[in-house]
Every structure is written in C-alpha cells, then in structure tokens.
Amino acid sequence: MADFVLELDRVTKRFGDVTAADDLSLQVAQGEFFALLGPSGSGKTTLLRIIAGLELPDSGRVLINGQDVTRLPPYARKVGMVFQNFLLFPHKTVAENVVFPLRMQGAPKERQRERLAWALKLLRLEGLEDRYPNQLSGGQQQRVALARGLIARPALLLLDEPLANLDRELRKEMEVEVRRYQVELTTPFIYVTHNQEEALTMSDRIAVMAKGRFEQVAPKLEVYTHPTSPFVAGFVGHSNKMSGRLTALDGSRARLDWQGVEIAVPSPARAGVGDRVDYFVKCEHMVLRSPNDPPEPGMANRVPGVLRDVIFKGPTADYLARLDNGVELTVTDAVTMPSIRRDDPIHVAWAPEAGQCFAAAG
C-alpha cells in the first residue's frame, strides 16, 4: 500500500472575513507533479504556505509522509521551496546559496560537498559557484533556486509561480526542464500557478482553485476535456460561454434558448425546464463554414452569422464570428479558410456533447 507523501485533511484558513482555504483535503503521491491552478486570490499560495509551515491553518491537518506536521515550524519540515522572486540570499554566492539547506541541517562537510556537486551538475550551474545572484541572468537565478530547493532531497518540492518573472521564451524552455527534473527525481512537486498553459504542460494532476475551494481535482486531461464545474469550464482552455433557459429536457439531451437561438446541449445536472444554465464549448471544438457547405456529421448545432475578424496565431487562427442573435463566438481552427473574408456570411457548427452544461449559479 503506497503511503501518500502529502496529505491535507480539511485544512481551513481565514484572514479576517476572507476564507483563503475552505475545508480542503488532498493527497499527493510519490512521483506526482501536482499543480494548484487558479486566479489570484483563489487561495493557492496560502495553501502552499500552509504546507511549507509559513502559515498556521485555523483547523485541519497537514501530514508529510504520514507525520502530522501541522504545528511544526517550517525549519522542522523536510520540504524544499522555490519562490516567485527566487529569493536567493544576495550576500551569498551561488554555492553558498545552494548548500544552505544542508548547512542548516548540520550535514557533515563531506556530504555537503558531494550534494553540492550533484546539484550544480544537475542544474547545469558548474562554473558559476562563486558568482553572486545579482551577477546572474533570470534563468540562471531560477536554476540556483531550484538547486537550493532540491539539494537536501526533500520529501516535497513546493513551487510558487517560479516562472512568472521569466520572459516568454525562457519560460517555455524552463517548463520542459522543470518537468524533466521532477520525472528524474520522482520527488513530488506541488506547483502553484495562475497560468493554465503551464499547468497543462507540466503537471500530472491539477487542482483548480477558486475562492479557497477546490473546484476540481483530477488528471490534467480530464480537467481539460471534462470540467465538472462552470468555473473550471471557463477558466481552463479557451471556451465560448452560452447562457440561457432550458426549453426542453429529454434524457441526456436538452434544448437551450440561447438569445433567441435554439441549440442542443447535454442535460445539465440539477436543472429542469425553465431553469437558467451555462453552456461551455471549447473554441477548438467549433468549426466555421460558409453557408453553402454541407452540414458536418454529428454537429447538430449550426448557427448562422457573419465573420468579424481573424486573429492569426501560427498553427491555428481564432475566427471571431458575430452571430445573427447578436452574440459573438470564437472559433479556433486550422488556417485553411482563405476564401472566407470579413463580413462574409458563415455558419458556426459544433457537436452538442463537445461542451458542458451546468445549472447557472444563483
């Protein structure tokens, strides 16, 4: 039976009347790359800090490798952390920064030397040992921060938006690199970010957070393709949101009155005829066709409109369509529609089951 490396048991934390963590429970196993994804204010950083011991939860427990560490100060836990602003000690060299955790633990000099060499090699920092942080580039500083986080072979590595301060090119590179380290070391990484692309690229499982709650905790593919809440559906990936009232309900299918247009949707849970619902379809699941094109098989929903603009994105393009009912949709498709120009009439089509429908809040 595999023990979980990290277990959160009903952790709650309030700041005044803001609930940063609301009765959260979680298990993370060895070898997992786990992402906490959410907008700012969702409580993800607070949760990370609670795991690190930098905040005390109001109630609940934190267990690392089965041991209850809830009330243990950070220096008594065996975790590593990588911070958004790197937080390298400016008055210490790269080597001194990296070896710091081992020194604090009182490791013998021999082991310090050995682990330092290992960390520097792993993070490709050889030759930079005697430099100071302000003499390094952003990417180098990030690697020093990672080395410092990993050198003591912690039970967990906590990462708080570590790539947020890097420029785009570097970020793409580092995403792959960080993932590589995790796979190689099998240390569980708990990775906080508000950038869903990062989360989708790097993680195995994602917990989508909003207002201190877990909206969905599942493997990343599932979070992407089968969001279980309107928030997740809207936040992860790029979707079109269509709202309206249900006009009919028939087993697994329903009909929605969307601003005057009737479309078919999968039946939402806990909603009946006449209720308000929100329906999300990812942009890439819709297609754009000219009115004369034959209907696509399986795409029961077909709405007429006019092409407003095309935004070229490289491998794909975003087509902005203004439909006859006045609403705008975005369709992501391959760049193969040269014949359709702005203000041309078009049809947007999609399969009803490609989207998710939820009862509207309130």
Partner: protein, 268 residues
Amino acid sequence: MKAGELLARLTGGTLLLSLYLFLYAPIAYVIYVSFQKDLNWPFPPSWTLAHYAALGADQTYREGLWNSILLGVGSAVICTAVATMGSIAVLKYRSRWRALMVVIFLCPLFVADLLVGISNLLFNRQILNLPGNMGSAMIGNAVHCTSFAFLIMLAQLSRYDWRLDDAAMVFGARPLRCFFEVTLPLIWPAMLGAFLVSFILAFNNLEISFYNLGAIPTLPTIAWGSLRFGLGGELFALAALVNGVVLGAFVVMYLLMRYRIVSFGHRE
C-alpha cells in the same frame, strides 16, 4: 519661462551658500582662533599651540572625555538594540498593535530633552529612590536617542525583503539562526548608522546628562562650566578638535557611501 527659472535657481543657490556660510563661519573662525594668541582680536595672526597644550594638561577635560565616551557607548548600545528589535517587529509582522508601537517609539521626539532630563531626575529620586549615576544617564539618553535610531533603522530596513526570512526558515534555519545568517549581514550598515548617531547624540547631550549624572562630569558639562566664565582658549581648542573629529568622520562616511563600500548588497 527661462528667466524665472534662472532667478529661482539663483535664489536657491545663494540661500544654500548663505546657509553654509552661516553654519561654517563660526566653525572656521573657532578653528582659526584656537591657534591664535590673542583670542579677542586675532589679527594679524600670531600662531600658537598654547591652548591645545592647556587643554591636554587639564585633567578635568580628560575625565569628561572618558565619561562622555562611556555614556555614548552605553546609550548607543541600548538604543540600537531597542530600535533594531522594534523596527524589525514593525516591518516584518502584521499586527493590530503596529501603529501604536510606532507612536510609542516616536514619542521621545516630541519631548524637549530638558523635560526628559528633569522628569527622569525626579522619577528616579522620588519613586525609584535612586541617585543620579551613569546608568540612569545612559538610560535617559537612550530613550531620547531611540527615536532617531528607530527612524534610521526603519528607513533602511524598509528596503529589506522580508521574504528572505521565509526562504531561510523553509530551508531549516531557526529564527535566531536566520537573523544571524541572513538578516544581520544585510542590515548591519543600518545598525552601524543608528549606533553612530545615537553615540554622538548621547556624547554631546547636555540637559539629560546634566540632571542625571550628579557630580560625574561629561565633556559637554565641563564645556558648559567653562563657557560660564567666558570664552577661553581651552574652549576654543576643544571646539576645534571636536569639529575636526566630526568633520573627519563625516568625510569618511561620505567616502564610504560615495564609493559604495558600504552598501546593502541587495536590490537597488
């Protein structure tokens, strides 16, 4: 309006010059006179070191100097410790008592040191039943200097990134260790500055020391006694020496800051 701007600059510059003249003319004159035989009208100059010799020979000045140094060091140590702890507390931790603490630490600025002196004298005498001594003078001065030290620490510490402490803690440093490994190496220049300012303020202080030291002389109290009898050669020599030391110290400080030998090793 170029003319108006020019006029403004000229005015500002002239006034600045006048301030320097106002501040330094007495100092320059004092230094000059200290080397002159005729104290009243030292023109044309007739150089002498007699006043310095007299100063050196005068035992009371030496005793006063020693006491002043002792007083200065004692006060500065107390002051810097209190101000450092207080400024760290106020900047590092969230608390509803923060504003109150800042007010308390700044209180001494609003009380003339004459009042600090007499109130301490009375309080010690009547309530604590202690006669004035070096200890109570140190404490009185320390209270007065704490505000200055606190402000200096606050100003410099506000540039310190407290999350470095978080990082140190996560990596295994207990709070005290964290202070010595991470915080202190980065803030020691600020502490040094606070210490020096407190030292000088306590060293030069007249009112507080006067009322609380009883018979123990300090340099300022001896100088005060001497001044009562009029301007003497020894006084000029002393003034010249002290000015020389202070100006020298400031030159050193300027050079250290200008060439960034003293820096925070830290974000700009």
